[in-house]
């Protein structure tokens, strides 16, 4: 699915060039659920931007789904972002004045070949159903909780059936309980066949993945598989009851 060879990324800043990635080699197979961890400045965001085809490496080769990304035209890269990759952001990035359904429809606006209106609408409904929000289709983001907003964003990422789901700190703005619920959703989508790469700096969140990649100073310093990823049902059960938490 993903094959990175000796990837370097150097930013030309006014002061001095910043070497954000210093030779990253990484292979991710279809169906994997990978967490990328690291402190801020470790290069994990840069890696994420490269994986998402929002940025290009200074040196090295990035093969996504057997295509060399460097050789793609800008339009082809846009099509890759549209069809092959689904993005989930820390800040949800929903359009505030649009309904949940319209937000989920957004990627289909840029899909080629063009979808018909009723087709786009029914796909958006199906995607909202997969995240359990079909009842909230006509609500605007301000009428939804943070967890629900992130679910809408996930539905938006899923609506064109991408092969790869890229999540950048997806639980960064959510409380513990909602975070666990979102991780449960990710595991469920992964079980249905989606390849997921998730950037996080919280080990609690990373434990839900099957594999954890740790970055430091622009290099991968650890890469290990988890024998038993965390179970969201058990984790939720271990949370103190909300009523108890209030009295405590």
């Amino acid at each position: 699915m993903i094959h990175l060879e000796e990837i370097h990324r150097i930013y030309d800043t006014a002061a001095a060039p910043v070497h954000a990635l210093r030779g990253v080699n990484l292979r991710i197979l279809p169906g994997e659920f990978v967490a990328v961890m690291g402190a801020s400045g470790s290069g994990k965001s840069t890696l994420m931007n490269l994986l998402g085809c929002l940025d290009r490496p200074t040196r090295g080769r990035y093969r996504l789904d057997d295509a060399d990304v460097a050789e793609l035209s800008p339009d082809a890269v846009a099509a890759v972002r549209n069809r092959t990759i689904g993005f989930v952001f820390q800040g949800f990035n929903l359009l505030h004045r649009a309904t949940a359904l319209e937000n989920v429809e957004l990627p289909m606006l840029y899909a080629t070949p063009t979808l018909r209106g009723d087709e786009a609408r029914s796909r958006a409904r199906v995607a909202l159903g997969r995240v359990g929000l079909e009842a909230r289709a006509d609500h605007t983001p301000s009428e939804l909780s943070g967890g629900q907003q992130q679910r809408v964003a996930i539905a938006r990422a899923l609506v064109l059936d991408p092969k790869l789901l890229l999540a950048d700190e997806p639980t960064g703005n959510l409380d513990t309980r909602t975070s666990i619920e979102i991780m449960g959703l990710f595991q469920q989508l992964n079980a249905q066949g989606a390849t997921i790469v998730m950037v996080t700096h919280e080990l609690d969140v990373a434990r839900f993945a099957q594999r954890i990649v740790v970055m430091r100073d622009g290099r991968i310093v650890a890469d290990r598989a988890l024998d038993r990823p965390a179970d969201p049902v058990a984790e939720l059960a271990r949370l103190p009851d909300e009523a108890e938490a209030e009295t405590a």
């Binding site: 929002l54 952001f89 004045r97 979808l115 209106g117």
Partner: protein
């Protein structure tokens, strides 16, 4: 289609974000388009009006006025007062100039006209028998004087509508006697109403008498104020004008190099003169419209730049979700075009309203043709596209990573 509708919906949503700002931005375009529409409607009405008035002069009319058109004499006011045209000149024109159909001498003076206890001051026009034919001026009742009356300098009068009304009310004036400056004349006819001329004077406020009677019995002179000549066709007007000039120079024994002591105007020249004022007005309004559309366009550019900055994150998101640069460009162009086209539509409505009020106040017919209305809306959308291009390109060139990071 789906994509276009969705883009349209997004644009509408963006414009509704700040309704007041949207309206204020549209104001420049609204004023510009309203000015264009009002200009076209009122200007068109004015030129229709001028055309009507020029047509009311008569058909293929060439007017010879006494006095030259020297600097300072004025174009119409000064001419005709110099006393250089004679009845013999008029007869010579009829005899010697080819292409002439009608000739009517004209003498004119202000006079007091009385009938019974009523009296009014008006213009007395001494004219020839062909005058009604020349001026396309039918009678409402009675008859015009004939050649015999003209030869005999008969004391007969034909009243203009306004004078007839002033002296006789709704009664029938035919057969009655009116005293013009104390001289009794018998009323033999009443002219049909003709309305105001290009200078705004009421043409019906006049009494027509044979020019012979006017010269001999009222004015006591032999000089004419002007000679009205009807050419056979529109094409003949130019040659007739030149022939008359040559003939009169010869008759008045003007040496080469000396100015004419008469002025010849054709109907078209008078129309052009009257039309020039309208054109100046139209030009001024056009300039206002142009400046206003320019200012409106700059306002749109300004607001679109603000909008692009405000929505940086949204642009980054759309790029991440697979929008191509031209999709972003298109989105903002549609938004700008929608903004200014909406301004255009409101402007058209305002312009039609203004021209309707103007039509009512000026008593002119005013209407803007559909093509102009459609053109104004399309053009204002074009203004939006033109001035929206720079902000839209700025949006399309954003770096998605930077854009997504922006708060």
């Amino acid at each position: 289609m789906y994509r276009f509708l969705a883009l349209f919906r997004d644009a509408l949503r963006a414009l509704r974000r700040n309704v007041l700002r949207t309206l204020l931005t549209m104001l420049g375009v609204i004023i510009g388009v309203a000015a264009v529409i009002a200009m076209v409607a009122i200007g068109g009405g004015a030129s229709d009006q001028v055309k009507l008035q020029v047509d009311s002069l008569g058909e293929n009319l060439v007017i010879v006025m006494a006095g030259g058109a020297q600097v300072g004499a004025g174009v119409l006011g000064g001419a005709g007062t110099a006393g250089t045209l004679t009845v013999a000149d008029a007869e010579a024109i009829r005899r010697e100039v080819p292409g002439v159909r009608h000739v009517s001498p004209e003498a004119r003076s202000a006079a007091q006209v009385a009938a019974g206890n009523e009296n009014c001051s008006t213009q007395v026009l001494g004219v020839g028998v062909e005058y009604p034919a020349l001026r396309n001026w039918p009678l409402a009742g009675g008859e015009f004087f004939g050649a015999a009356a003209e030869r005999a300098a008969a004391r007969v009068a034909v009243l203009g509508r306004t004078v007839a009304r002033a002296l006789f009310g709704d009664g029938d004036p035919i057969g009655a006697v009116v005293r013009i400056d104390g001289v009794p004349f018998t009323v033999i006819g009443v002219l049909a109403a003709k309305g105001a001329n290009m200078m705004g004077q009421d043409q019906d406020d006049a009494v027509l008498v044979p020019y012979t009677a006017a010269l001999r019995r009222l004015l006591g002179q032999t000089n004419l104020r002007m000679i009205n000549v009807g050419a056979e066709s529109a094409a003949a007007m130019g040659p007739v004008q030149r022939e008359i000039a040559a003939l009169l120079r010869q008759r008045h024994r003007l040496p080469a190099g000396r100015e004419d002591d008469f002025t010849i105007r054709t109907q078209e020249e008078l129309a052009a003169f009257a039309g020039s004022t309208t054109r100046i007005m139209a030009g001024l309004l056009g300039a206002i419209a142009g400046v206003s559309l320019l200012v409106g366009g700059i306002g749109i550019m300004n607001i679109m730049l603000v909008s692009v900055t405000e929505r940086t994150r949204e642009i980054g998101l759309r790029l991440a979700l697979g929008a191509r640069r031209r999709d972003i460009l298109r989105q903002f162009l549609i938004e700008a075009a929608l903004l200014s086209a909406a301004g255009g539509v409101v402007g058209v409505a305002a312009g039609l309203g203004i021209s309707r009020v103007a039509a009512w106040v000026l008593n002119w017919p005013a209407a803007a043709p559909v093509s102009v209305v459609a053109g104004a809306v399309v053009f204002s959308a074009g203004v939006g596209v033109f001035f929206g291009f720079y902000p839209a390109r700025r949006a399309a060139r954003m770096d998605p990573i930077e854009a997504l990071r922006r708060e």
